[in-house]
Subunit: 242 residues, 2 copies
DNA sequence: TACTTCTCAATTGTCGACAATTAATTTGTC
DNA sequence: GACAAATTAATTGTCGACAATTGAGAAGTA
């Protein structure tokens, strides 16, 4: 017995934005690589106007940057940015955790435990992609369960960036067991209602992960992602500042 | 002897976005009021496509909302939103303050003092508009001086909303002297390098201001801003969720 | 050669027209 | 009159065309 679901009609703009987003975070294009509207429009079978709107959307999310009359390029990863991203999410998740402890109920508690065990099993299987996915999912869950709409909205904006760095973050852990060991205390502190503790654990968790990332990025000197396979034709230095 | 300055050429899209933003935060249109692309395009002397792009930009900033095939409307103020906004900015400004104490120098210190005295003189003059302006400017300065680009970026997104609520927030203070008294400790804590204290003062400052706002909004029951002067023709309930 | 100017191809910026969708209004039916 | 169906007006969604701008390379010049 199947139940009919409303067919969600989504505008081409929204679909295009999603497709492009997945293309970027899925590694279809490399950080720093150039994007042209016409090529994307052809690939997606849409008009340039529609693709353009979608690109503007991604630019707002920070996944691509625009240079007037010159082009679009995928945002590149840097050590400074890693530090900023991790202090920022630390602060946001700390707020979420505090609020969450104040409104915790049985349902939310079980969701947290389920998410943690999902992460655990992914770690035990050694599936790298799944680990990143579940890791992000757990952090997102804390934010979502806080019930703070605006916070979720802001978190959503940096979510894709977090994912990009998280790949390296998780890889830099000594073992997958470490990943479990750093996440269990987070859930524990929240479910036992220790607001202050949950807050500081989340902030510290992120800031130390950030420090490790920064150190790694500085050592490797170059951006860890491969450089664009074809060189950027034009200089993309003068970025639109708005 | 004059020095040549680069002529800043800004695209119509960007100009339109700025004009619309000012129109909204300047009270040219009321919260909840409907906007149509054609009318705006006529008023600005631009094509609908350009205006549309600008509207999408504002939608990302959260100043307007869109209902597919139906229209755009200015976002309205609510008590729940006030609480969210003030907890969020509390968290962000607390982070900024902590970072700022770690990188404070003489120049930054004097900027802080100047900003505080600007606010003070506005309060003494009793100029309501200027007070809101300087109040926001001081908070922005703390974020800017923290040197955290991403944090600034995120703060910029909610800045206009803060301004909208700040008008009421400042009005609800018993006297303008109270405004000075609540801001001086912030600057003091930062310049004396008390990171922890600066952090918690900023968080508490915002959260208590938020509580006052929430209480006021709940009492007045209605949104404090006047209702739209002409009724919204269509129901704007089914908002695009993405 | 070193330098400037001109030319041109590539790309984004802007526009007006038409299609798709929505919701109010009118019409039809009982 | 009450309800349903058809019509219509208003609005956004999408498109292709043309204008503006950029950067690279060719051509000219000392």
């Amino acid at each position: 017995m199947t139940r009919l679901r409303p067919i969600k009609k989504r505008s081409a703009e929204v679909e295009a934005a999603e497709a492009l987003r997945n293309h970027v975070i899925g590694g279809g294009v490399h950080p720093g690589e150039r994007l042209t509207e016409v090529r994307l429009a052809e690939a997606l079978g849409l008009s340039r106007t529609t693709v353009r709107t979608a690109l503007h959307q991604l630019a707002n999310e920070g996944l691509v940057v625009q240079v007037p009359y010159t082009g679009w390029a995928v945002t590149s990863l840097t050590s400074a940015d890693a530090w900023e991203l991790y202090t920022l999410r630390g602060s946001m998740e700390a707020l979420a955790a505090r609020l969450l402890t104040e409104t915790l109920d049985a349902d939310k508690e079980s969701q947290l435990h389920r998410s943690l065990s999902d992460l655990t099993s992914a770690c035990q299987k050694g599936d790298e992609v799944a680990v990143v996915d579940r890791d992000l999912a757990l952090h997102k869950l804390v934010v979502a369960l806080s019930g703070h709409r605006r916070l979720m909205e802001q978190y959503r904006l940096i979510e894709q960036h977090i994912r990009l760095y998280l790949i390296w973050s998780d890889r830099l852990m000594r073992s997958h067991k470490d990943i479990i060991d750093t996440h269990r205390p987070i859930v524990d502190a929240i479910v036992t209602g220790k607001a202050k503790q949950a807050e500081s654990i989340l902030r510290d968790h992120n800031e130390s992960a950030g420090r490790i990332l920064v150190e790694f990025f500085n050592k490797s000197d170059q951006s860890p992602a491969e450089l664009p396979d074809r060189p950027i034709r034009r200089r993309l230095s003068r970025l639109r500042t708005r």
